[in-house]
Every structure is written in structure tokens, then in C-alpha cells.
């Protein structure tokens, strides 16, 4: 379930025209087979895995149209048409709650989390000492590599009622606070966890884009009397605009996907009303609750909408003259 956005992608790349392996001339099929069969053999294990764990499950989405029961096979289960999708359109409160939570969390994160790496990258870019900059980067990238279980555990230990900060406040006879296990603050909590984990990592791609800016542009701007702020506005920001848009497109494609592991780990403490999102709904309703067909219908709808969002956002980017994720 790893997504494209997991790792930074450069928006564009200029490569000197390197001599590549020559295109193999098309010959007769049998000769081609004899020539390339070793290559096909090499590709085979990977292809089997991709087919078995991407394309077979893709077809397995037919259970969204079936009344699946665990003791029947998918083929044996009766067709039920669009029945399973009714849960999406009938205003079922549990589903609506999951959808609302998902959209609210996405909105919060696009507004407050998404711009942070850019801001941090601009800050880091102004650090003159190369060594200091690298040290700070090493520290800030680190949390990205920790699992969500570890991040959640660390947050509990630091911010929990018996956590580090409250223990300190208690020792000073000060008022303690609680954010862990409070339903009203759950969205704040998970947002702060995302910020802690991934803001540093998110700067990489912006720093790479900034480093491509021709320094003579800064010098020219300075000669023309531009101060630090105007240089940032007129030189740095235009240079990273296409990267920013690319990442925004990818983020939009993930609009319906919000921190599944992160939320499932902390759901017990705050209850479903505050924390259920679409992915946890599919898990709780389908795998735990046994409503396989309905959960698959929700998952399928979510997947289709996500693809449409990426394609739509990409189209929009093209209309505004940007490169987007892919080109026609």
C-alpha cells in the first residue's frame, strides 16, 4: 500500500544525452523469443508478484458487487448489484462520520502540514554554514524512518497524562494538561505527529529544487536592490513552483487517505466518532465486522475517486502550463 508520495520525486531532470543501450531491432517473433527469453525469465518473479498482489486483488474488487460470506468463495457468492454501495449514498451515519473525519483531517493537513516543509526548506537554505546545515538536516530527517508505532509510543510518553511534560509540570506544582486520549483534540494530536515525523523529510525535494537555482540570479537581484525577502519571492519561489504543484497533486490524490496506521493505533483511546476515517472504516466494518461486500464497495469507490483526483489535478496543472506528474 505504499504510495508514490512516500518519497520525493524531482519534477524534472536534465540529463546529458547518455549513450543508452541500443534499441533492439524488431525481428521475427520466434527469433525475438529466443533472444529475449533470458530477460523474460529475469522479469518473471517480479511480474508474478505484481500480477498476484496488484492485479488479482484489483479484479477481486468484484466482491463489492457480491454478497460475500467467508465460507463461500468469491465465485460462489451471489451477485447483489449495487446493493453494497447503498451504504455510501444512503447517509448511513457511521459512514458519513468516517467521510467527514477524513475530509476534515485532509483539509487541516493541506492547510497546516503541507506548506511547512517549504517554509523549513527556505529557513534551512538561509543557513550559511554548510556543516551546521547538514547537522540540522540529519536530525530533522530522522523521524521519517521511524514506524508509526514508535512515533505514537513516543508521543504518549512525552505528552501523555503520565508523560514527561506532565511529570515535569506536576513536579513544579503547575497545572497539567491532557491531549492524549481526548476526542476533541484527536485531530490536533495526529496532525502534530505528522508534522513531527515528516516535515524534515519533506524539505529534501524543495532543497534540491532550490539548489538548482542559478546563483547569478540572486546576485543580479541583489544588484537591482532586492532585499532578502524579495529575492526569496522573485527568485527562489518561482524556481520551486512546479515542484510545489507536483506535490500538491500527489497530496490531492491522497485526499481520502489519511494516516491509517497512525489512527488505528490510537483509535481505542478516543473512540470511533472522533477518529474513524475511510480506511479504518473499511478495516473495522469489513475485516473486523465481517461486512465484506460493503467495506469493499467503500474501498473501491475511494480508490476510483483517488485516481480521478490525481488525473483531474494533473489536467488542471497542464492547463496552467505546469508539467504535472506525467505528460501526455
Amino acid at each position: 500500500m505504499s504510495r508514490l508520495a512516500e518519497r520525493p520525486l524531482p519534477a524534472s531532470r536534465e540529463r546529458p544525452p547518455a549513450p543508452r543501450a541500443p534499441v533492439r531491432r524488431s525481428v521475427k517473433p520466434l527469433a525475438r523469443w529466443r533472444r529475449d527469453r533470458l530477460l523474460l525469465l529475469l522479469a518473471a518473479p517480479g511480474v508474478v508478484v505484481v500480477l498476484l498482489f496488484h492485479y488479482v486483488p484489483l479484479l477481486g474488487n468484484v466482491i463489492a458487487f457480491k454478497g460475500y460470506q467467508p465460507f463461500l468463495t468469491i465465485a460462489e457468492s451471489p451477485w447483489v448489484g449495487w446493493d453494497n454501495f447503498r451504504v455510501i449514498f444512503s447517509g448511513d451515519p457511521v459512514f458519513v462520520n468516517a467521510l467527514t473525519n477524513t475530509l476534515i483531517i485532509t483539509l487541516i493537513q493541506v492547510l497546516f502540514v503541507f506548506p511547512l516543509p517549504l517554509a523549513l526548506a527556505l529557513l534551512l537554505n538561509e543557513v550559511i554554514s554548510e556543516r551546521l546545515k547538514r547537522t540540522v538536516q540529519s536530525i530533522l530527517y530522522m523521524p521519517h524512518f521511524l514506524s508509526w508505532v514508535i512515533v505514537v509510543a513516543i508521543f504518549q510518553q512525552v505528552l501523555g497524562n503520565a508523560g514527561m511534560i506532565n511529570a515535569f509540570l506536576r513536579a513544579q506544582d503547575l497545572e497539567t494538561f491532557s491531549i492524549i486520549g481526548v476526542p476533541e483534540l484527536f485531530k490536533v494530536l495526529i496532525t502534530s505527529q505528522v508534522i513531527w515525523k515528516d516535515t524534515g523529510w519533506g524539505t529534501i525535494i524543495f532543497l534540491a529544487a532550490i539548489s538548482r537555482v542559478d546563483t547569478s540570479q540572486y546576485e543580479a537581484a541583489a544588484m537591482d536592490g532586492a532585499g532578502a525577502v524579495r529575492r526569496m519571492w522573485h527568485v527562489t519561489l518561482p524556481a520551486i513552483r512546479s515542484v510545489f504543484i507536483l506535490l500538491l497533486i500527489l497530496r490531492l490524490g491522497d485526499a481520502l487517505t489519511v494516516g491509517f496506521e497512525q489512527i488505528i493505533l490510537q483509535q481505542g483511546a478516543v473512540g470511533a466518532t472522533a477518529s474513524e476515517v475511510l480506511d479504518t472504516y473499511v478495516y473495522n466494518h469489513g475485516i473486523v465486522g465481517g461486512n465484506w461486500g460493503q467495506a469493499a464497495a467503500v474501498g473501491l469507490t475511494k480508490g476510483v475517486i483517488s485516481v480521478l483526483l490525481v488525473l483531474g489535478a494533473n489536467k488542471l496543472a497542464h492547463m496552467f502550463g505546469e508539467r504535472g506528474v506525467y505528460q501526455k
Partner: protein, 289 residues
């Protein structure tokens, strides 16, 4: 480039300093508490920010047999076997796709790229794993994530940049594709192989949800599930859950923090290497449709 504004500079330093502190200080406290004795934990009312009489009792307790030791072995096994298999399959597939015009390479490449756009969904995935008889089998933590499309593309790009003179002259000397891959392409790609191998390894080490989904027997739990149960959910550890030997356990909080430290340390060990290469190794790869 203009005069540096002092207030701005101080503000910048403050923000970056706070950011670094927010990452480092929790680690210090976690390590410190894992080394603390019962007296110190009680005296501090919980967390021990700076331990005065460090003891390895917690580590001894959890590493001399019991739940954590077993989970550690499972995690190491999955990470080692998984990363190795992933690397072999990824490199082989990437090489096959890096010979333009070869039979079937175009449709295979498109099929791999398409997996990045659409994820098949949790329920069908679960049912496929179930149909294959992989439920409660450690292979379920490896096989579904064996191939990561992004890694295939990055490695393919890297292989494409290897000068054709090298591979073609070997071909004229009678080498087949397998020999070219093993003798020429792979030795020239050590950096990208190392980086992608480490990314796979971190992924396997950190995998939590797949284990929650597919593994039901506690004796097959990887470390992340043990972490969830004993650290996130704070289920107390009994004498039976740790290695034999002592009747009295170190403080629960120290045990919890020791489990946390054990699961973080491997990441910290490979981190300097990862950090040195990920920008270089991964920025060269771009998604090309």
C-alpha cells in the same frame, strides 16, 4: 548578498533549534528511562530525564528469552529475507526493463507503472492472501510487498545510464544477459542497490499493519506488534513474558522504553548510511511514463 538581519537570524536559529530539540530530547528521555532503576522511576514520578545509576536490567529481562526476544528474531528474519528477496526480484525486473525493445518490456513497464496509480484495496488484498493460504504465515509480510514499483523505476533509470559500450562489448564477446547483469551492471550499481536495499529493509522492519492484518498467533508477532501491545497499549509485562531467571521485574516503564530503544536502534544504525545516499541515490530517479 545584503546585510543579515539580526532579529531574523536569531528567530531562524530559535526555530531550527526548537525543531532539533523536539527530535532529540524524547530520545534522550526514552534511553535514559530504559536504563533506570525502580527507585529512580518512583523518585521522578515516572520519566527519568537523565539517569543517575544506569542499569541494563530491563534489557537483560527482555532479551533473555520471552515475548520480545522472539519478536526480535521474527523481525530480523523478515527484514533479512524480505530485503534480500526484494532486491533480487527488483534488480532482475529492472534489468529486464532496461533493455529497450526487448520482448514484452513495454507492457510490463506500463503494468508496473500503473500499480503506482491505483492501490487494489484492503479487502481484496486480504482475500487474496487468504486464498493463497498465507494467513498467519510470515510470508504474508514479505510477498505482497516484494516489489515496489517506485524502486523498480529508480533502479531501471540507473541501469539505463550505464554506457552501452560496456554491455554491448561484453555481448559481442559472447556474454548473455545474466552474465552482463551479474558481471557488469550490478557491480556498477552498488550505491543504488545499497540505498534501495535499505529502503526495503526499513519498510520490512517498520511494517505494522500487514502484521496486524495477517498474523494472528502471538508467537509469530514481529516487534512492531509487540510494541503496540506492551508500549502503546501499555499491557503490563508479566514474569512469564520475559526470559527466565528473576522473580522481580525491572519497572514496567523501563521495560517499555527498552523495547522502544531496541526497535529504534537498527534504524539509527543504518541511518547515517541512508542519509548519505538517499538524496544522491533517489533524486536521480524520476517517474517516466
Amino acid at each position: 548578498m545584503g546585510k543579515p538581519n539580526r532579529v531574523l537570524m536569531a528567530l531562524r536559529g530559535l526555530i531550527l533549534g526548537l525543531g532539533c530539540a523536539a527530535v532529540i530530547l524524547p530520545f534522550v528521555a526514552v534511553v535514559s528511562t530504559s536504563l533506570a532503576t525502580q527507585q529512580e522511576v518512583t523518585a521522578n514520578g515516572g520519566f527519568v530525564f537523565w539517569v543517575r545509576e544506569p542499569t541494563l536490567a530491563s534489557y537483560q529481562a527482555i532479551l533473555s528469552g520471552g515475548v520480545v526476544t522472539r519478536a526480535l528474531a521474527v523481525s530480523i528474519l523478515i527484514t533479512a529475507v524480505g530485503s534480500l528477496l526484494s532486491l533480487v526480484c527488483t534488480a532482475a525486473l529492472a534489468y529486464a526493463l532496461s533493455r529497450p525493445g526487448s520482448l514484452g518490456s513495454r507492457p510490463i513497464l506500463l503494468a508496473v507503472l500503473f500499480t503506482m496509480l491505483f492501490s487494489p484495496g484492503m479487502i481484496p488484498m486480504y482475500l487474496v492472501v487468504k486464498q493463497l493460504g498465507l494467513l498467519d504465515n510470515l510470508l504474508a509480510l514479505v510477498l505482497p510487498v516484494l516489489i515496489n514499483a517506485f524502486n523498480v523505476i529508480v533502479m531501471r533509470e540507473f541501469f539505463l545510464d550505464i554506457p552501452a559500450e560496456l554491455t554491448e562489448s561484453a555481448r559481442i564477446d559472447g556474454a548473455n544477459d545474466l552474465t552482463i547483469l551479474a558481471r557488469i551492471v550490478l557491480p556498477l550499481s552498488k550505491a543504488v542497490i545499497a540505498v534501495i536495499g535499505l529502503f526495503y529493509a526499513v519498510g520490512y522492519w517498520n511494517a505494522f499493519f500487514s502484521a496486524l492484518l495477517y498474523i494472528s498467533s502471538p508467537e509469530k508477532w514481529p516487534l512492531q506488534l509487540v510494541l503496540r501491545t506492551y508500549v502503546v497499549n501499555e499491557t503490563p509485562m508479566g514474569v512469564d513474558d520475559v526470559g527466565s531467571g528473576s522473580d522481580s521485574l525491572p519497572p514496567q516503564l523501563s521495560i517499555q522504553m527498552a523495547i522502544l530503544v531496541i526497535s529504534i536502534v537498527p534504524i539509527l544504525l543504518v541511518y547515517p548510511f541512508l542519509q548519505k545516499h538517499f538524496t544522491k541515490g533517489l533524486m536521480i530517479g524520476a517517474v517516466k511514463g
